[in-house]
């Protein structure tokens, strides 16, 4: 594919996602506006109204209807995208596992926002974490560029014949959705070529080969169909790796199942999702300057869980700090036990610490992350730590 260097633009994360969707020129979009996702659907509906895309934009009365419509439209054979956040995702919940079980490769942007209550509109990962067991692939972005890139990459993973699963592209509410960053666009022709034509499997509107979708299953078939989803999730890891390679060829930008920053020779590694990965990189640089060998890693693909890559990164490390922007009340941060399991087969298991941070949009500064990592280095950290809480 031709590499055309375009001028960088200044854009917020929501705008960047909408722009990627415009370049893809999807068939159908149905979404309900909800802060901090609203700009995506506002921008995209403008593209539709101005005739800049051929997309059929369907106005719906709720997120539940949005996802129901999108699942059906994707089933029918149309490339379909939607977007939501927080309460909207919660309202969609009933349809999340149905969509994945129907094996429709739908793309959904989620502008991560804390789930009520108490009522809050700021960023944390409570919305997507609550959806993690519903059979959707989940990607995270650490800046506006990767939010845009994920929007281009996502349909390639979801629509792959071996995968055929819906995919969520997460971007941190406000921190990425609303903050303007400098970003490199991909030429629209290149985006179209990269994403390719949508080739649905047994679509409902294939009159010559009539099919029924969304059928009833007794226990034996239900279990077997769930197992097919397990296999598809496993395959999605390999497919994602392959798509990332192709993406690098096109753009020069490199993504992995787990993105890494200065992990190779590190004694201590921080595992963190989303925009705070950038904050952690700055923390790593500062601590390295002070002579402490720290590294950072971000699961770019959170579901399916990239266990092997995490194990490789953690091998030989003294300690690993797992940062969760959500807490499973009564247990741990959601990533913590999964990272521990990923490390369980290592010859020598690093010490494992969990840091809960940024809940309900609580500020996440370099100094907070640095204090946390220093407590890991000197061994004063607890197993579970609640950091960045102003009211104590």
């Amino acid at each position: 594919m031709a590499k055309k260097k375009l001028e960088d633009i200044a854009i917020n994360g929501d705008g960047a996602v909408a722009y990627a969707w415009k370049q893809i020129d999807l068939d159908v979009c149905a979404a309900y506006p909800i802060t901090p996702q609203t700009i995506i659907v506002e921008d995209f509906s403008k593209f539709v109204a101005n005739g800049e895309v051929k997309t059929e934009y369907v106005c719906v009365e709720s997120e539940h209807s949005a996802l129901t419509l999108c699942a059906a439209s994707c089933s029918a054979g149309a490339r379909t995208f939607t977007a939501t956040a927080s309460q909207g995702l919660a309202y969609m919940w009933e349809m999340l596992p149905i969509t994945s079980a129907m094996r429709v490769p739908l793309v959904m942007a989620v502008a991560n926002r804390a789930v009520s209550g108490p009522i809050n509109i700021n960023n944390d990962h409570g919305d997507s974490m609550a959806a993690r067991d519903t059979g959707w692939i989940q990607m995270f972005a650490d800046n506006v560029q990767s939010a845009y890139d994920n929007a281009v990459i996502a349909p390639r993973i979801a629509e792959h014949p071996d995968v055929q699963l819906p995919i969520i592209t997460n971007l941190d509410g406000f921190i990425l959705t609303h903050a303007v960053e400098r970003m490199t666009l991909i030429d629209t022709e290149d985006v179209k070529k990269f994403v390719g034509e949508f080739e649905p499997v047994c679509p409902l509107l294939d009159y010559k080969h009539p099919t029924s979708h969304g059928m009833f299953d007794g226990p034996d078939f239900y279990y077997a169909h769930k197992y097919q989803q397990v296999e598809a999730m496993d395959k999605a890891l390999g497919v994602a790796e392959q798509v990332f390679k192709e993406f690098k060829k096109l753009t020069g930008r490199e993504y992995h199942l787990v993105d890494e920053y200065r992990c190779d020779d590190a004694d201590y590694v921080a595992i963190i999702l989303g925009s705070s990965y950038g904050t952690m990189q700055e923390t790593v640089d500062q601590m390295r300057e002070a002579g402490i060998k720290v590294g950072a890693a971000m699961p770019h693909i959170y579901r399916p869980w990239p266990e092997k890559e995490l194990a490789r990164i953690m091998k030989g490390k003294k300690a690993v700090a797992i940062f969760d922007k959500h807490v499973s009340l009564g247990a741990y941060g959601p990533m913590y036990p999964e990272v521990v399991v990923a490390a369980a087969d290592l010859e020598k298991m690093p010490k494992m610490y969990n840091f809960i941070y940024g809940i309900g949009g609580a500020d996440t500064s370099v100094s907070i992350l640095r204090d946390a990592m220093e407590s890991v280095v000197d061994g004063t950290a607890d197993k579970i730590n609640y950091v960045g809480m102003k009211l104590l």
Binding site: A101, V104, Q164, T211, S212, H213, H225, Q228
Partner: protein, 91 residues
């Protein structure tokens, strides 16, 4: 059941061979059986319209009987009949 392999099943609980529900003998579930009293029946065919399993047999515009391979004994025909001509028996 044992003959079907997971890898051969269409994904997404899709049914890709149309008309295949005929192969599922819903009559196997039946615990009540409809019996029509032809004296009362006026051949309005409401039962035929409402039967969810296409099990009311009609010949030349007249109710003939029930297709026992697929009648699951739900009793909808008996409920819908304006003449109460269908009785559900425990046979």
């Amino acid at each position: 059941m044992a003959k079907i392999k997971i890898k051969d099943m269409p994904i997404g609980a899709r049914v890709c061979n149309p008309g295949s529900s005929e192969a599922i003998l819903t009559g196997d579930w039946r615990s009540y059986t409809p019996v029509v009293d032809k004296e009362k029946c006026i051949n309005c065919l409401n039962c035929w319209v409402f039967c969810p399993d296409n099990s009311v047999i009609v010949k030349e515009g007249k109710l003939e009987g029930f297709k026992m391979s697929h009648c699951k004994g739900c009793g909808i025909c008996a409920q819908i009949c304006p003449k109460k001509a269908i009785r559900m028996t425990e046979a």
